[in-house]
Symmetry: C2
Subunit: 375 residues, 2 copies
């Protein structure tokens, strides 16, 4: 079965919405944060640990799996769920973002047909097209596939973006045409930078193609301002249908998740919680902390006294600091569990706030602690 979104409640004071996504693995509530399992593994975590953190949909990267082990190997195992032992819904991205951000030396040749670039692993010449991206995702057998789009840099001009969104629309159409996995939803992607008319045009034209869900892309680029990110959302959301799920790609800063929810976004993903974990950083209600800091050497409190995750239940900052400073694998694992749980719990609390029409109060309360305190 294809996933299906149900809008259950709209918050009174903002565009925030509470809903559910029905999947063959069960029903999951939105707003939702999706952990990222780039290469068919959320780095350092077993699927059980991912689920214990409250995860619903998990994300995996088409580009990375295309290169290694190759989509045919995954298909041979029975698809991505079987391959990685994640018996829950999986979303695969299109590879577009990675092609534009990871290509060796960032060099690529964009043609109407697709993108020529070199592998970030071995420099091998590669060619990714909208059709190829969908074909790979079909074979991976994820529950949600993404259309292949161009991801222009934050510095792209209005003129460049204007041409780019036209090409992305043509690519979306081509991808949809070859999409043939009836159990797999296909999402369209709205681009257009921080420009109101471009976002509107991109959204309206993408929606005309009738995708199973819509995502707002081009908001997690290097150098993009938060203001531009919020503009991109504000200018896209009004043109997206209410009965389809809305996905803000690559966004995982707590504040940005709250701002996204307020603007009508349902689902988020980001490598941030696991990436900063491996560098010793952890979210707390009072802001991020860095466990390398010597002041935690004898700190017998948990990372966050308000957190209910496995790590906070069983481990002190003192022990976690020891693991992080000695480079022990378990340090990255335990902090990743906490950071993922932190963002998922944030979305759980936002669901409650939506139901109580208190999203703005929630934001105020959260920001008053998270931003101001210096830890």
């Amino acid at each position: 079965m294809k996933i299906k979104y149900y809008l259950l409640q709209k918050e009174e004071n903002t565009k925030a919405r509470y809903g559910t996504i029905e999947t063959k693995y069960g029903v999951y509530e939105t707003p939702m944060f999706m952990p990222v399992g780039t290469r068919a593994t959320v780095k350092g975590l077993t699927p059980e640990q991912v689920k214990e953190a409250g995860a619903g949909i998990c994300l995996s990267n088409t580009y990375h799996l295309w290169l290694r082990p190759g989509e045919d190997i995954v298909a041979h195992a029975g698809g991505l769920h079987q391959f990685m032992n994640y018996h829950g819904p999986i979303l695969t991205d299109s590879g577009g973002f990675q092609v534009f951000s990871l290509a060796k030396n960032k060099q690529k040749d964009i043609t109407e047909e697709g993108v020529h670039f070199k592998s970030h692993i071995d420099g091998k010449s590669l060619f990714l097209t909208p059709e190829k991206s969908i074909e790979i995702q079909n074979k991976l057998d994820s529950d949600i596939a993404m259309s292949f789009d161009e991801c222009p840099p934050a510095s792209a001009s209005y003129e460049y973006l204007k041409n780019s969104i036209e090409r992305t629309l043509r690519w979306a159409k081509r991808g949809k045409k070859v999409h043939c996995n009836s159990n797999q939803a296909l999402f369209g992607i709205v681009q257009g930078g921080p420009y109101e008319d471009l976002r509107k045009y991109s959204a309206v034209e993408t929606v005309k193609m009738d995708f199973d869900g819509y995502s707002i892309g081009g908001v997690a680029n290097d150098g993009e301002s938060k203001e531009d990110m919020y503009k991109a959302i504000d200018y896209s959301i009004p043109y997206l249908p209410e009965d389809k799920v809305r996905y803000l790609m690559g966004v995982g800063e707590p504040i940005d998740i709250i701002e996204g929810v307020i603007r009508g976004v349902d689902i988020f993903d980001c490598v941030l919680p696991t990436r900063i974990a491996r560098h010793g950083q952890a979210f707390t209600r009072d802001g991020k902390i860095n466990l390398h800091n010597a002041k935690y050497v004898k700190d017998l409190t948990s990372i966050d006294s308000e957190c209910d995750c496995y790590t906070c239940k069983h481990y002190t900052r003192s022990y976690l600091r020891h693991l992080i400073t000695t480079g022990e694998m378990l340090g990255g694992t335990l902090l990743s569990i906490h950071n993922i749980r932190f963002l998922i719990k944030l979305t759980e609390e936002l669901r409650v706030a939506i139901k109580n029409n208190q999203v703005l109060e929630y934001r105020e309360k959260f920001i008053s602690r998270y931003v101001k305190k210096d830890i």
Copy 2:
């Protein structure tokens, strides 16, 4: 309470014995393989994963914890069990082996008082004595502490070893004198290389001091032959009391565990299962396999069809190869779980074989597959 060993059954055809160790965390059967948590963590595994693999006693390293985070930090947390969240028995080694194997440039200055050497981390001058080792272990609050001994290289001469075991005896006496943790057992260590008279003398004199258990040391050195290892065991065991547990230090090759059990050893430890796991190697009944090997790329079988571990229940060689070749943390974790379980299951099977007086048959059956097949 101090741990206590109960000899429950002696095998008829060999010196193998079945017994139990009573601890404040419960009763554990021997023969037993103890996973190593060098720096207060079995690399990449949560304590729950360690226990799920069937672990009883877990080992941790005094030398490493002395350097980082320092025994006072561990004591501040309430001891090693609290610090690392391992609520099961823990054995700490004395630091002796690491001083002799890890000291920077392998340079050390052995005096009657102790050993001067430089830290392998930062080259800092350090001085470890029998008293200091026991003091650190007292603070770590492990369930079993080890006497501080000299660990001569496999190449040491008879004359050198003769003097060395005398010094180790004096060090054992000094350590025992300052040992003041009434909840902590203290084990003596038999040295003497492959020489019958030295092993006998070392064993007899060590036993005179009445330790809570005895270990056979100097058998896991670089360059030592298996023949010398078996000699060291054979020449030590007859002089160890039957009512105390016998521990063969640093041994974890499956064949060596079987040979050790046959010779009367009760407990074993080794970093081998976790170390080779991080390099992509896994034990199977037919010998070790290396998951880097391209032939596993589409192999949908588990590592070992006869294994009941978490990894073998849920993951294929194809997926594990993907994790290992891409350097994903989860690869090391999953292979470590399997390799630890493999050795623990081996000791579980040996217990059954002892009860049925079939240890020699067990060895024959195991070796016929493990050694000969080329995988």
